[in-house]
Subunit: 220 residues, 2 copies
DNA sequence: AATAATTTTTAGATTTACCTAAAAATATAA
DNA sequence: TTATATTTTTAGGTAAATCTAAAAATTATT
C-alpha cells in the first residue's frame, strides 16, 4: 500500500506521461510543487517498490504496476467529482481540491458502491473518462476547438484545463459540456475564434479555444 | 489547521474526557495504539497550539478550542457514517474504518452540503448524536440495558461499543436500533439477561447487555 | 568540439511522528 | 512511612518527505 504522497507522485507521473513517455524530474517537481532534489529521492523509492522504471538522468516511466495504481487513483478522483457535482450540487469549478483529498481514501468497497450509487458514470464533470474497476476506459480522442475550421460544428465534451478561473469563465460564456457549437469566424488579428452557440455569436480567445475539447459531428 | 494525527489525538482525548475530565497519558496511548512517550510529545505540541491544558504528570483537558476542533471531527465522522449506511448500503458494522479516514477531509462546504444531502440527520447508525454545524447536539442520556429491571420496557437507541464483531452479533440477534424490548428475566447464575423482542424470547450475556443503550418508556 | 546553459543528482540538514531505555514523579501497599 | 508498583517524562534515535547548496551529467550553442 502506498502513502498519500506516493499516490500523488504516481498520479502526476501518469498525467505527464500522457504527453511524453519519459517523464522528467523537473516536470514532476513543478506539478508536485516541490524541488527536483525531493523528486529524485521519491523516484528512487518508487523504483525500489516497482512502480516506475528509472535510469539516472533519463527520467521515469510507469511500470504496469505503477500505471494500475495511478489509474486507480484517477478513477477515485473522477468518481468523487461526479458525486460532488451530481449529489452535493458543487459547481464544476469547485470540485478539484476536495476530490484531490477524497481520492486517497483506501477502500475498494467504498469506491465500488459509490460507482454503483452514481450509476456507473462514464465521464466526470469535466468530460474526462472514468476508468472502470478493471482500469479500462475509452480513450477519448477529441479535437481542440482551436483546431476547427470555419463552418465546423461539434459538441463541447471536455476541457483540458481544470483551474477554477478557467471553468468559471466558460460557465459565464455558457460554454458547458454538451453544448452545440459552430465556428463562424477566426480573427486574423489575434487568432480569437467567433462561435455560434445557442443562436448567439460569441468571441473567445485563442487561449480559451485551446482548452475546449470538441467531439466533432462533421461540417455544416 | 491540524494534521491528520493531531486530529486523531483530539478526537480520542474528547472521547476519553466523556468519562474522566482529566485524561491520562496511558489511556491516550492505548487508544492511539502508540507508546506513552509518543503521547507526551504530542501533548506538548497540542498544548503549545492551545488545544489542551496540560500539567506535567497530571494528564490533559481540552480547551474550548480543542473541544470545538474535536466536535468538528466527530460531526464529520458521524455524517459520513450516515452517508455510508443510508446511501451506499453499508452495514452498521462496516462503516467505522472508512469513516475514520473520511473524517479528516478538510472542507466546510463539503460537510455542510453532505449534511443537507442526508437531510440533517440527528444521529448516526449507532445512535450517537451528530453535532450541528455550530457544534451543538442533544446530550443523550440513555440507560444501559444491563441496568434495567425485570418487566422494564424500552427502545434500543444506541450502542456503546462499535466493534464489528459486537455489531454483527447484535444484528444476528435482531437487536438493531429502534427495536422494542422488554426484560423478562435476569439469570442469577451468570447475570445474563432474558429479553422479549418481536414476540421472541432471547438470552444475552452481561457483556452484551452492558453495551446496549435503551431509551426507557416506563414499566410494563 | 569546446563552452555555456540546463537538468539532475548527491550530500547533509530539518521536521513530524514515532520508537526504546532509563530516570523521575506519583500512587499504592506493607 | 518506607518500600514497591505504576505512570509519566526525558534523552537520544529512526524513518519519511522535505529542503539548500554544491557537484555531476546532459543538452544546446557558438
Amino acid at each position: 500500500m502506498q502513502s498519500f504522497t506516493e499516490e500523488n507522485y504516481l498520479k502526476i507521473i501518469y498525467h505527464l506521461a500522457e504527453k511524453t513517455n519519459n517523464v522528467q524530474t523537473n516536470a514532476i517537481a513543478e506539478q508536485m510543487q516541490t524541488k527536483p532534489a525531493s523528486v529524485t529521492d521519491m523516484i528512487k523509492k518508487l523504483a525500489d517498490k516497482g512502480f516506475v522504471d528509472y535510469i539516472k538522468y533519463q527520467g521515469v516511466t510507469l511500470t504496469d504496476k505503477g500505471k494500475n495504481a495511478a489509474i486507480d487513483i484517477v478513477r477515485k478522483h473522477r468518481l468523487w467529482e461526479v458525486f460532488l457535482v451530481d449529489k452535493l450540487n458543487f459547481k464544476w469549478d469547485e470540485v478539484h481540491d476536495v476530490a484531490e483529498e477524497l481520492e486517497h481514501i483506501k477502500s475498494t468497497a467504498l469506491i465500488e458502491r459509490l460507482d454503483e450509487f452514481l450509476g456507473f458514470p462514464k465521464s466526470d464533470p469535466h468530460g474526462d473518462p472514468i476508468p472502470d474497476k478493471n482500469g479500462r476506459f475509452a480513450k477519448t480522442q477529441f479535437t481542440k476547438l482551436i483546431d476547427l475550421k470555419i463552418a465546423d460544428q461539434g459538441t463541447i465534451t471536455g476541457v483540458s484545463q481544470h483551474s477554477s478561473a478557467f471553468l468559471k469563465h466558460l460557465e459565464k460564456l455558457g460554454l458547458t459540456l454538451g453544448k452545440q457549437i459552430e465556428i463562424s469566424d477566426v480573427t486574423d488579428f489575434d487568432g480569437s475564434v467567433e462561435i455560434l452557440i445557442a443562436g448567439k455569436q460569441i468571441n473567445i480567445s485563442r487561449e480559451v479555444a485551446k482548452h475546449i475539447l470538441i467531439s466533432s459531428n462533421g461540417k455544416h
